[in-house]
Amino acid sequence: MAKKKKITYLNPEIFKAKDNIDWKAQGKNLKEFGACCVDIAKTTNWKGYKDHMVFLVQNDIERIAGEAKDIANMTWAERKDLLIDGEKKLGKLYRKDAMATARREWRGVESTLIDFKYWLRMWGMLLTTFGKDLVPALNTTLHYRWMISYMCCVGFLDKNVMGQRGKALKMSHLMTYDIFRYVAENLVIMAKCDAKNGNSEELNKKIVLIDEMTMGQIIAGFPDLIGVPYQLFPVFLVSEIDQLTCVPYIDAVESFGLPADTCPVPSSECGSIVIDALPHMGNAFISSSMPCDGSTMASEYMARRFPDLPVYHLAFPVRYEYEETVEDAAADIKGCIEFIEKQFNTKWDWNHYFECMKRFNYETQLEINKWEVNQTAYPQIIGPSYELFRKWNYEMDGGCDPRVVPTMEKVNKIMLKAYQNKEEAWHGKMKYRGIVWSCPAHYYANFSNWLANCWGIDILVEMESLNYTRPLNTDNEELALQDLGKLYERMVMRRHTNGGYKNVVEELWRQCEIWNVDIIIMYQNVACKNMATLQGILDEQARDKGYHMIWIEHDLMDPRTVSRKDMRGKVNEYMRTVMKAEPVDPTLLEFDDEKCV
């Protein structure tokens, strides 16, 4: 058998770029950090801490004793099932006031081995990646508190695959691995570039900062440059790992004067600017009006914070389905390309762009294959890992990274095998077919995973996955620009919430038909004006069409407005009172995860 060619992506020279660390400043920062630690140590209630530790030990003893007793009371058949298919009462993994679960999940022999294998692989990748330039990467933790939250990333992985077994578990791990690799590499790059840290002049010359709400495909035409979704790592993504990360940002910007009714995404972005949580880096910034009014305004805060950073505002037509706006979007793309060319003294490379977009088109086809399987009676590739992967692949990667293709191919292969075997992602739990609509909070709250484990509601697809699927032009420069404009206009969220109510209301009914859903999980971000203004229409039409629509209020990354527990309560209430249903796992009905990452 021919040996597979190893794909090298991200030029290794990037990580070798010379750092220019100001050690004197680092010493000063370390001193400040040390003073903070001393302060914490002085103000800590050590007796309370000791009591808590004693409580934890006692709690562990009780838990272990309880679990041993449960096993002792089991029949041999139940014990065999526990051995092969793992535990079923997942609510017991949570512990009040704890940041992590009480222990790892027992998934049965085979799945636990799979889980362990991929867990090891993940740690290996993380250590290798950070090891490429360890000093600035580690030093970041002394400058930014959000970096500490990334220490919990493997816990995030565990959370997202909770209850999954066999092939579904394997697929989730494969996809998460690619996302984590992307994040780890970018974190190292950010650490190297940050003026307060690595301060690599050589690398900064190549860095195009891109607004986190803007797609990354434009960088495909600049193979010598690196596109970094700027706020993604200090704000958006980390808040999915640790629900408390954005709270200080939101508080800071609201104290500054921003009304509390604005969407937590741009609010957090602006708040991170207020408390100086963004690394000082890059050679230019691509801001954007997408996906909504709040995001448009956040660009003003960025320009104010970093006045020396040249900014290009990508601002596409809102009524993107008007034929006459196609050339306007293309003109904006062209303007952006010219801006980057000028700023970085480089040229747009059509060949490289076309190569990446061919890859992106292929990836889109692989994505559609997944949808086809999920539309059948035996959906295979579902859950938060997949949802996150789809979003990342569509929005951030965008065909740039060739290492993603083998992952997707492998996942699709496993998926087809599982489909042939009529397997279930959550073994024996599926009772309802669900669709998620509106601005989703499932990552912050691990919601689709909980829905499947607690009530057997399998989320087959979510609104944010259903974006532009037409192949992008890869041979005609003019048409390619138009296609890229169309793609950007249909970015995650914007595709539905902009351009008229039909894109989100009528589209929902169309998708419900296609996916044959029983239940609509209608997220209600209390601050999303685009969606909130359609609440009555959605409600009325759902009633007319006879859909079960469960409204779940949330405030994205601000869990203080609506807690995870309150969100789950909405589903519990609906399932009990309207559906008269019994939970698949009653231990997940009520549990405390207010502090859990």
């Binding site: 009714d261 909504c292 305004m297 900014v311 809102v318 109510y501 004006k529 359609l534 609440q535």
Partner: protein, 396 residues
Amino acid sequence: MKDLKHLIYFENLLEESSNELIKQAQEEGDLAIGYTCYSIPEVLLNVDKCFSVRMRAPRTGSIDIATYYMSNYTCEFARSLLERSIEGGFNYLDGVAGVDACSMMNRFYEHYELLKLNEKPNLFVTHCDIPFKTEEWSLNAYVKQMRIRLLDVMEASYGVDTSDKAIRKAVEEHNEVCKIITEIGNMRALDNPPITGYEFHILNLVSYCCPKKLILPYLKETLKEIKERKPDPEPWYRARVAVVGSEIDDPSLTKMIEECGAFVVSDRFCFGSTPGREVIELNDEEDALTQICRHYMMKSECARWMADSKVMQRRETSDMLAKKFNADGIIYEQMKFCDYWGFERALVSHIMADEYGWPVLSIDRPYNARSSGQLRTRFQAFVESLEIKNIQGGKK
């Protein structure tokens, strides 16, 4: 000062979403086109037999039904318009010139169509796309939208003449109104002006809410009257303030500010006179539509414009107006739940204070603010602080 002859008449015209001049014009065969946003060039709605009506929901009470449709954390202006439409308050409109510039207002237009709140057979509702930047191609896009999504629709629905000649004629009439309002407005710069901010707000609003040809004679007469009007021997105000921010169509807010002792010398808010009452200068070399779009694009002060030049323009305009009209301070205001002005107000109220040196009062307010005791207290406190600054010689 002696009361203005037509003030009560003007106030009455603003008491309803419709008014007797609108009815009169429609009886004469004219078409009423409603709009809410400066991004729709008002003058284009006054071509041929059409006349523009700035949509308002005066004396708004409960907005419960609109809140059912649009939820409670959304723009009260949009919700009030929906409520008023559901009540039948906008049945008389022959068309609605909407823009998809602000998502909440756009949803109002959509509900207006979706709930079939006006069943006139030829009714049209547009959703024009408005650029965010001021590039040359942004202007082309703007022109295209106004032609395809507005003028062509007016022509197709009612056979309206939207030719260059018809547009230029509308500009002439528009400019006549603008000149009068500007002349009256400029009198606010005087130390002891013959007009109050409230009166000016009323005059400016009727110019937006009534058919131009019917309101013009009244405005001309009022201008003459104001020119001859004798102010009281001493100025009535304790401080002079410029108001900057989002939409205010309720003159009672201006009245409340003035009751607290602050003379509103400048109205840099949506549907104030800046922008909105600047004369449109046309040349013969370029088509009128392009020139009009350029005028609106460059004059607009909406926080939605992302271009760096527009961001700076907004700050400079506020500063320039406050200086021109000898303001003592600036009130930055924002309608509750307005994303654009929420972000803008939070940031720029600091900038105007820290970098431009203006005393600033930063507020958010409900659509219907006339009964807000909280706002009244804040205005009173601001006036006192301005007075103290003046006494201490800290005036800018």
